[in-house]
């Protein structure tokens, strides 16, 4: 399993729901959560694959900011 960490701009409940529908249907994603209390709104994904780029692109395409947080 890989843990992928991103900085995002996902703040509202609606945005989280939209992201949820993207991530829940993604084949490699085991679990995910957003640190709502953190200024970077850190998105943490547990993925079967090391597919950082692909996930980032998917989220960016939906109109959200999503950048990799370095390990």
């Amino acid at each position: 399993m890989h843990i992928l960490i991103f900085k995002t701009n996902i703040e509202t409940e609606d945005a989280r729901k939209e992201l949820g529908s993207l991530l829940n249907s993604h084949r490699s994603i085991i679990d995910w959560n957003i640190d709502k209390e953190d200024v970077d709104k850190v998105l943490r994904i547990e993925s079967e694959l090391n597919n950082t780029r692909e996930i980032m692109t998917t989220i960016n395409k939906a109109g959200f900011i999503c950048e990799e947080l370095p390990d």
Binding site: H2, I3, D35, K36, R44, L69
Partner: protein, 207 residues
Amino acid sequence: MNERSFIFVSEMRIRDTNKELSVKHHAMELLLKDGFDGFSMQKLAKACDISVGTLYIYYKNKEDLIIRIGIEEGKRMMKATMKNFSPDMPFAAGLKVQWENRSAYWLKNKQASLFFENIKHTHYAEVILNEISDGFRPTMQQFVKNSIAKKELEFLSFESYWSVAFGPLYTLLKFEQNGKSVGNRPYKFSKKVMYQTLELVLKALKP
């Protein structure tokens, strides 16, 4: 799910104990300095000289971090409190062991003790207490029940019992924490004063 073992197996990331201890130490320090609302993962990462990304590998989010640190430290505290203690002890001897254990833990772990004082009134407390007080609460309740049955302890409401049995001890420990007692008098904790105070407490609680 045990994410730690996953990390270990799949990413060959060997857990660094020193790093983990540093995170725990700095987290408690920052939580005491900035409060639970002012605490952030960025500030913590900076204080530990690691990246925020690394922090999120170990902890899911701020809440997960606070709760896990609280549980880990809380278990240590409970274990220390129970050392050489049995609920079947005579009341005076048992309370003496409790005072000795609690003061020893407090004096050796000032940061963690303050952390628990502060966490008491947050929503994290309930989760942490549920995890750590298995065994502790029933044991202390049994001790009180036995002591009342043996007519070694006055029958009182829980709050009344606790405030007399432990309130004075924590007052002394807080004086020690501040280095000052009432009216800014310089204060240093001593076992002599602790035992004198305990004598009075035992006298008060006798039926």
